[in-house]
Symmetry: C2
Subunit: 616 residues, 2 copies
């Protein structure tokens, strides 16, 4: 039977339910060396056990005096004091001064008995055994008195504070070589899913590499805890249950991901029965993404079941797991930074579920622009390339294009200078790499010409790459008369293969529908063979991979690539790679740099050496 989520709770309700059943508590205390204490959380109040400084000491180089002896000193009427000795830093001394006497003293040295000020060496001159002072000094001048930084018994650092460099400095100054800190909570992590394999192993058909264990493991470290990786578990009750039991033994909290939706293979919600009380407490959260989240509490240990989709898992981690783990570890919550922007497109949201929408940011003439990343919650790369999150409340269904919104900024946000779209081409890789060398932040979204035209029209993209048959005109003028071609290159296309060549029944690998070459190429194939299969790929690398492995496959590739990989090939047709930008953008600083780089000798050389392509 398929279970459907019935009682979705809000993020706040989920946290409340969790805190009701499991009080986040600090675990034990451990002692670490102060050289290893940076970033740890102090496990005891520190009350100063000595004075700092522990004795009154000179804070300038000069002469320790009785201040009263310098009274009324002036340039006209200087004071002469007899130098009766010398005190170095670190030297204990029984020297004491009497009226009209002084002692030469170094910064850091113990102030001798009965001296109550130090005259800076710069304000004195020497005459034999005497020092001449032409300015009076007050009591306490030129010295730091015992306990003036910290007095013995002073409350210095609270239990629960994170140890910064400054606090470690204080601890050292007070004589601590070790310090008591909270032990880091241990968090067991595992992923479930029959399709998952460990990174580093060979990828097999229908399998994907596990993402969640590693991204969650990194977040767990950031939350001040130690991850314990339990590996990948099959999608069955016994294996997941065993993993939970193992996690409860080894760790203070468990995070699993996958197998939490309401589908046929989803058994996780049954796992907790009989393991301890109260068991399952949350099953489903009114958030998008993140609905199939479960939370259990087993004998005071929390178990988080995050969605299998990497983006969902990370967003729910941030909303629910992170605050809870930080309450355990003592790490402060990260401050959330907001930034205003305008939304690049009209966006419809689902009523009744709070939505967390990853966006990327770019500078535009309208100001900072936020562009939703619509890769879906399986798309970890989309999240990793996002600059922030747009939170859309439950009761909001529509945000208009150009509406002002607040984005929660990621710490590694990098606002794009140029968004490049259109057709994939090896030429672009060379050009974009030249741009990146000049510290220009380039975001590439080569999702085909049609997608690129739409983004150019909506002024999301700045640089459009079209790759079209040479005999056709790129359909740019349709979009805007202000979009100008700045450069184009000829690129000969070939039918490349590893095996015997084209025959009826061959499988052809073409760019995706919507790419500039797609329709023309498909027509060409039809003119060659009657019966064929088609595979679509986004990039030539993907095509290369396929024809390297199977003999009956034919890929449409640039000549230069076919030659480089030593494939067999026959000529297909000449294509034209053109670069278009909006004339407003061309007038900006970045636009000018872009044009310069595209016309530069370095770029031409890089192109000809890497690709053997000549400019048109």
């Amino acid at each position: 039977m398929r279970v459907v989520f019935k009682k979705l709770v809000t993020v706040e309700e989920a946290l409340k339910a969790l805190n009701k059943h499991v009080k986040p508590h600090h675990l034990g205390i451990e002692e670490v060396k102060i050289t290893e204490a940076h970033g740890r959380v102090l496990g005891e109040d520190v009350i100063a056990r000595i004075n700092l400084p522990p004795f009154s000491r000179a804070i300038v180089d000069g002469y320790a005096v009785r201040a009263v002896d310098t009274s009324f000193a002036s340039e006209v009427n200087p004071v002469r004091l007899k130098v009766i000795g010398r005190l170095h830093a670190g030297e204990d001394s029984s020297l004491e001064i009497k009226e009209k006497e002084c002692i030469e003293i170094d910064t850091g040295a113990l102030i001798p008995k009965d001296a109550d000020a130090v005259v800076r060496v710069e304000d004195t001159s020497i005459d034999g055994d005497y020092v001449i002072i032409d300015n009076s000094v007050g009591k306490g001048s030129g010295l730091a008195s015992l306990g003036s930084d910290v007095y013995h018994g002073q409350f210095v650092i609270s239990k629960g504070e994170e140890l910064t460099a400054e606090k470690i400095g204080v601890l050292a100054g007070l004589g601590y070589d070790k310090v008591k800190v909270f032990s880091k909570p241990k968090v067991a992590i595992f992923s479930t899913g029959n399709e998952l394999i460990e990174p580093g192993l060979e990828l097999k058909a229908s399998k994907i590499y596990d993402v969640n264990q590693y991204s969650i493991g990194a977040l767990v470290q950031k939350s001040g805890c130690t991850p314990i990786y339990l590996g990948i578990k099959k999608d069955n009750l016994e294996e997941i249950r065993e993993a939970v039991i193992e996690g409860l033994k080894l760790a203070d909290a468990i995070i699993m991901s996958g197998s939490t939706s309401a589908g046929v293979s989803d058994l996780a919600y049954k796992v907790f029965d009989g393991l301890g009380s109260p068991g399952l407490i949350v099953h489903g959260i009114a958030a998008k993404p993140g609905k199939p989240t479960i939370i259990a509490a087993i004998n005071d240990k929390p178990v988080f079941g995050l969605p299998g989709f990497p983006v969902s898992a990370l967003i729910i981690y941030g909303l629910i797991v992170d605050p809870f783990l930080r309450a355990m570890s003592g790490k402060k919550l990260e401050e959330k930074k907001k930034i205003g922007a305008i939304l690049a497109i009209r966006y419809l949201s689902e009523r009744g579920r709070r939505e967390y929408l990853p966006v990327f940011l770019k500078n535009s003439k309208k100001g900072l622009m936020a562009i939703p990343i619509l890769g879906g919650s399986g798309a970890i790369a989309s999240l990793s390339s996002a600059d922030g999150i747009l939170e859309i409340p439950e009761n909001l269904e529509l945000i208009e294009k150009d509406e002002r919104i607040d984005i929660e900024l990621f710490s590694d946000a990098k606002i794009s200078d140029i968004v490049a779209v259109g057709d994939f081409s090896p030429i672009s890789q060379v050009i974009l790499s030249e741009l990146r060398k000049k510290a220009i932040k380039v975001r590439e979204e080569f999702r085909g010409l049609e997608h690129g035209l739409a983004w150019m029209r909506d002024e999301i993209a700045d640089l459009l790459v079209s790759c079209t048959p040479k005999s056709e005109k790129a359909p740019i003028s349709k979009i805007s008369p202000k979009i100008k071609k700045i450069r184009s290159y000829t690129m000969d296309m070939v039918w490349a293969f590893y095996g015997d060549g084209i025959s009826s029944g061959s499988t052809f690998i073409l760019p995706k529908i919507g790419s500039g070459l797609r329709n023309y190429a498909e027509d060409k194939i039809k003119s060659m063979v009657k019966d064929f299969d088609l595979i679509e790929t986004w990039s030539y690398d993907s095509a290369i991979d396929l024809i390297s492995k199977r003999r009956n496959m034919i890929a449409l590739l640039p000549l230069c690539i076919a030659v480089k990989h030593e494939f067999n090939f026959i000529d297909a047709f000449p294509a034209k790679v053109s670069y278009f930008i909006h004339e407003d953008f061309l007038a900006t600083e970045i636009g000018k740099k872009l044009k310069k780089i595209m016309k530069s000798r370095e770029t031409a050389q890089a192109l000809s050496s890497m690709l053997g392509i000549s400019m048109k």
Copy 2:
């Protein structure tokens, strides 16, 4: 001969000179497991070597269909498709569908040949071998197509980026179990000074614990480098020179501190002669604190000689060393956060030197208030308790009281709710600890009654503690009629000692000048003995320490403390500990909480059990 600094340079000039002689460069590349890569800096561009997802996969549980077969489906006119099989996630399959067929499919499973959409299970019903669909779906619906997250050949993460959890997720998804990162620069650290000893050892007269090695070591870790602690070196040319030579052998950069001022013991600037070129490049910086900073470059390795005073060392580290080391390690600079505040006092700055003034922050009725911490550059605890830094430009000499200023906020800033001043008293420790338990942020500055009165007058402090002879009136009304007493306690004072008692020639330990009991107690002593010595301490702990060690010392202590420590004692006089607050503050939420806590049974119990003190 004493060297006087002649060519002070600005911070910017120092950085420029340094960058001219030593180009900050990344060191080698090393491979780490992705489980250990969090926070490391990527050492290579990552170009996707597979598609992600590597095959088109279902993103919902449901039925894989040919979208065309669902055309025109509606509730009135549903479509019936024959279920010809079942596909689980991770299962490879040669199943393919024909017209009007479908395959039951799990989230994550491979989309079978010729299917181009997945209908969600929630939108279907079952009738024997058939599934009934009453809504048409578009091509691509319910699935993530091959390469839709990342296409093979896509530029994914730039060399030089810090690895976040999301980026580690992408690397895992692309099959990386290890990743190339920049090796962390190694930084050798040592302190110089004959007065320094290692924390953990016994403190001897005229010695202080080394602070700088440890606080700098923590900062070096924060800058993305690995500290190598070389220990404490004596203040002589040979020892420092040997340490530099050792540092050059072991590390990529050296940070020493101390021995860099122009005083007699200051030899560091001579250390570099003959070690390599160009040697010393900066000797003195026009900053306060931080003037005695030196920078050398020896065969492409930087050597930073920071001032010995901990506060100076840390401030110069932040201005000069941190940006340089981060350029080497690849760690991003920390963002500096500014916050507006009003300055609590009139402040005079030195013309011609940029000043960096640590401040603490408190909420006041005038808004956020910044109070300079005037502990001096030796005072590490002052810096550690600071909330931020006020940067005063070279050409600014005066900032008026209540003038609006910008503070550069520390990441661990905690704005005080209550500033407590006045006389030290064991009673206060009990009361403040009750406040802290209630999450009220208390800053204590018990620097005597005179200091406390001044801070109350200037409205910096909120809570004043006076400890005066019972027979005298605390001089509060002088300050403001609006300052009200909220509580007072009687505390019997005694002359406590470990040895034989009071006699002529004894040394008496009294609170500092400016404390409420000081003058009265001194008069009392004069009435008892003719000939005596005086030692001043800020706190009773300090006095206890002294009389525990030496038999001829007599301390003025509260009776309860003398009893607790089993000292001998004779009665001195009764004192009165009183708590005053401003009536405006009493009206605030925090003021009310404070009053409640002071009058509570818990506080009374805590006082009587810890101190044996009864309320008046």
